[in-house]
Amino acid sequence: MLSTKVFLKRCAMAAIVVASTAFAAGGDASGPAPSFTLTTLAGQPSGLSAYKGQVVMVNFWATWCGPCQQEMPLLDQMYKKYKPAGFTLIGVNVDKEAPPVKQLLERKPVSFPVLLDPANQVSKAYHVDEMPSSVIIDRKGQIRYIHRGYKPGDENDYQDRIRQLIRE
């Protein structure tokens, strides 16, 4: 029988080696972006089709998600910067109820459109497997890049991709 110390050291190594797969924050993706229609906070219907021909970033966020809150102001800056060049950012909120979303946006407003997905239909359609997730779609409506999670500095990554797709 191994001494407990050696045994636990081996357990720890096994756990790290097997479970710690290299976590890719972003990956190239492909396929047509599923179309969707959701409502804004004001109750107006809107969807992906409204931005045909533009480079679109669909950002999935929630009021209860810390990193989502962190990136919002940066997404807003990015939206204002690239909008004239044919770029749109759609914030798809996955909260189950609207009041907390409204409260948050009143305190920290953003200029990009925010659509509500309380039934998670769009999240499912886009196979969201991390919060937050940002899906970048080209002018032809094809998904080109999915970024999972947010760490400060990721906005540079977003901007590189957006610039690349705007130039196409």
Binding site: M1, T4, W64, M131, P132
Partner: protein
Amino acid sequence: MGRAQILLSGMVLGTVLLSSGCSIQPWVKPYERDRLADPIMAWDRDAISAAYLDHIRESREGSRGATGGAGGGCGCN
């Protein structure tokens, strides 16, 4: 000590199986974690208070160990 080793092996093996390409998909999606992300669902909202209560108990009881919890939360990254 043998029992503890077996228990730990079981735990590690279980999690190894879960993480290495089992056909089961995570059944709670990241966008469904609103309730789990609520602060009331944290194991210990106030670690300083939890540690103090543990301290009170361990000084007057013959037991010690295995308290606390990890995991849960929003699962954001």
